[in-house]
Symmetry: C2
Subunit: 439 residues, 2 copies
């Protein structure tokens, strides 16, 4: 079934999504084959759809996504650690722990967060509605919401939208699903890769991992992320899927900061259909597991970088790498502080190689180091050595600021700890988006 075109035209057609997608490839494993226009339905065993259910007033905006497994499949999830965890997070956390899922339902336009017991009941009822329509157990439905916090969730859109979404679920529908989960994002974020396994017992089998994500503001995931749904056709037990997901999310989605606030709705779900090799068993640490983790890391890294590229109002992706810290944890602390410094972010917006602000953020972070051991490069230009200013070519710096990605590298000279964080610049548009977005 193709989605109909009358209501499914997203207003979020990206002007330069191609550019973002090309740039987000940096740092990915060259041996994996990216699937062009792939996403949450690229792995065998999944369909999806995105519809206008009515959570938003604009009838041309998709606002509800359904991802459907052909059969009950393995699931795993990571979720926000904010004590204000939304109702859908509280419900899905339990359902994901049970290990088997048939469907994921996501609405945008209302976060169903800070909505109390009524919110929980509505999230559970949403699972009931999907379960009835699909013909599965309500515990096999994962639910996720994004949008305004503290406003009661309307149930009418689910009642109208779920049958429509089910009818339209298809492989090409993955793209509509990716559009339906967006909020202030400016383009849909999906990606998939495939590889031919060389693992014993799985030799020659083509495995696919793909997914979609959303996120643009209130972004500093903690052991979880924004909303992402990843699928694969590799057979995984719940334990193996959870282990792989937790491992990869820490290095990918959890390394994006837009504005240093952790959303109450952060959710990352992994579904594994096993369709690529129904009888095979993957164990944590075996060859098939390692292959899969590389592919999962690639997909999550790509999607995470897309989120940073699409940070609210951003003009630049900023990649902050801190080396030479006393530990990885201190490197992480320092990189996060630089990545969340409004002074650093406005300097990048102003095309200013202002390493003094980077130094100040490093010093504020709590990481332990001696200022006279610190080296800093901006866009590959050495601007600080041993805590002191280096002369550099200003014209060359301005020319390098034309690139969409601005790498900042700091060496604290205090040890071997290392960390990378992705963020974006702070612009007039960030203030406009968040100053004019009224509750």
């Amino acid at each position: 079934m193709e989605p109909s075109t009358d209501t499914d035209t997203s207003t979020y057609a990206p002007v330069d999504a191609g550019w973002h997608v090309a740039a987000a490839h940096e740092g990915l494993s060259p041996e994996l084959v990216p699937i062009i226009e792939g996403g949450v339905t690229s792995a065998a065993g999944f369909t999806a759809s995105g519809v206008h259910a009515g959570f938003r007033r604009n009838p041309s905006r998709l606002d509800m996504a359904l991802v459907l497994a052909d059969e009950p499949c393995t699931c795993a999830g990571t979720f926000t650690r904010n004590p204000f965890a939304s109702a859908p997070v509280q419900v899905s956390r339990g359902h994901a722990a049970a290990g088997t899922a048939r469907a994921v339902i996501v609405n945008s336009g209302n976060a169903n967060a800070a909505t109390g017991r009524e919110g929980i009941e509505k999230a559970l009822h949403t699972c009931d509605l999907v379960a009835d329509a699909v013909g599965c157990d309500p515990g096999e439905v994962l639910v996720s919401s994004t949008g305004v916090v503290g406003v009661p969730l309307p149930m009418g859109p689910f009642e109208r939208g779920i049958p429509m979404a089910l009818e339209r679920a298809s492989v090409p529908g993955g793209t509509y699903a990716a559009s339906a989960i967006l909020t202030t994002d400016t383009f849909a974020k999906e990606y998939a890769v495939s590889y031919v396994s060389e693992a014993p017992g799985l030799e020659g089998t083509r495995v696919t991992v793909g997914g979609m994500t959303k996120g643009s503001g209130m972004i500093m995931p903690n052991m979880a992320t924004m909303i992402a749904v990843i699928t694969t056709d590799l057979p995984l037990s719940h334990e193996v899927a959870q282990q792989a997901l937790s491992e990869v999310v820490g290095d990918t989605f959890n390394r994006v900061i837009i504005d240093a606030d952790t959303s109450p709705n952060d959710t990352c779900i992994l579904l594994a259909s096993g369709a690529a090799a129904p009888t095979f068993e993957v164990e944590v640490g075996d060859a098939a597991y390692h292959e899969f983790v590389v592919a999962l890391d690639d997909v999550c890294r790509f999607l995470a970088r897309l989120i940073a590229f699409d940070g609210e109002g951003s003009t630049k992706l900023i990649t902050v790498t801190v080396d030479g810290a006393r530990s990885d944890a201190e490197a992480d602390l320092a990189a996060r502080k630089v990545a969340s410094s409004t002074l650093v972010k406005t300097a990048v917006f102003g095309h200013d190689c202002n390493w003094g602000r980077i130094a100040v953020a490093l010093g504020t972070s709590g990481a332990r180091f001696d200022a006279t051991d610190v080296d800093i490069d901006i866009m590959g230009i050495p601007v600080c050595r041993q805590g002191m200013s280096m002369a550099f070519d200003e014209d060359e710096a301005l020319a390098r600021f034309e690139a969409r990605e601005v790498p900042i590298w700091c060496d604290l000279g205090a040890g071997t700890g290392s960390a990378t964080i992705w963020t974006c610049d702070l612009t007039y548009d960030y203030v406009r988006i968040n100053g004019e977005y009224r509750t």
Copy 2:
């Protein structure tokens, strides 16, 4: 000596400083008598001046301040904890610890930070120049700098400016000194109070405490502050002065956050001339000490609030109070996170009672609480009770947003810990100021 008017006209004539000054009075002790237009020279025994020495290109901008004690007097100081502590901080930390000072020299336009050993030598040489001119020991000179980080400090302006500043030092010159230390500030910040002592042995003695400060960006002091010079005519030993200053700074200057970055130049100096009662001895904890701490707290609180009022690009002072935390430390953590949330700050700029963003920041802070115990008021309007949205009158809220100060109050319902942090909103002008300010 009156300062001449040809070069001393500050471009920083505040349009609405009177409004700020009136508003900054909130929470001060009613028993103290504010000195109208008082400042760093209100206490007996001090003169000051502000001159254009040449650190800045604009000849109409004052850029060097001198505060002079008639005689060597007691001094104390608190300084930045940023590992990138500037050269003048490293020098003044040592001089302040020696306990006696005759002069404080402050330049704006260049921070002499991240300037290595050469920077230290220049800060020491600045003390030599002042000592030679004044006729004191170089160890009795405190030096402070503010402005661009990582650029070599020119010495010519000191050589030209110090004799001029010394010649012009006067009691009315305190106002020029307060103008000369400004950077992106939009008005000079000075204040003084006096009281008649009732302490045994000091009955009937009039004591004055006054000071000046600067600060508008890169503001999150840690056990120190921006640049502030406070004077009093009470006789204090170094130990007593240091104890009182450390006590008060933690509750006043250290509670301001503009952009969550701690400057390498934060400096707060207290000078005590003893001119009010030359033979008296104040001990930590006695009646005279308590009276003084109340007055010092008033002066520092007033000046700290002026800094928040004048945060870069701000339209609102935001006062974040967190009650009901498990400890004061957790309340502080939570209040700082709310006060540094760009989402909260842009919402206030947009006149939006967006308590969801406040809740998210509380949840991101690391403070431990149950979301269903949280109450939030914005401008006195209950917007959240027990973690859930409360209906409120939107017109009333918009009317209250017309005030210059926006109080945010949160009760975590987890204990008795409490903290208040002052900050400001995040506006287009913040991005303009920091995106266009080029190194």
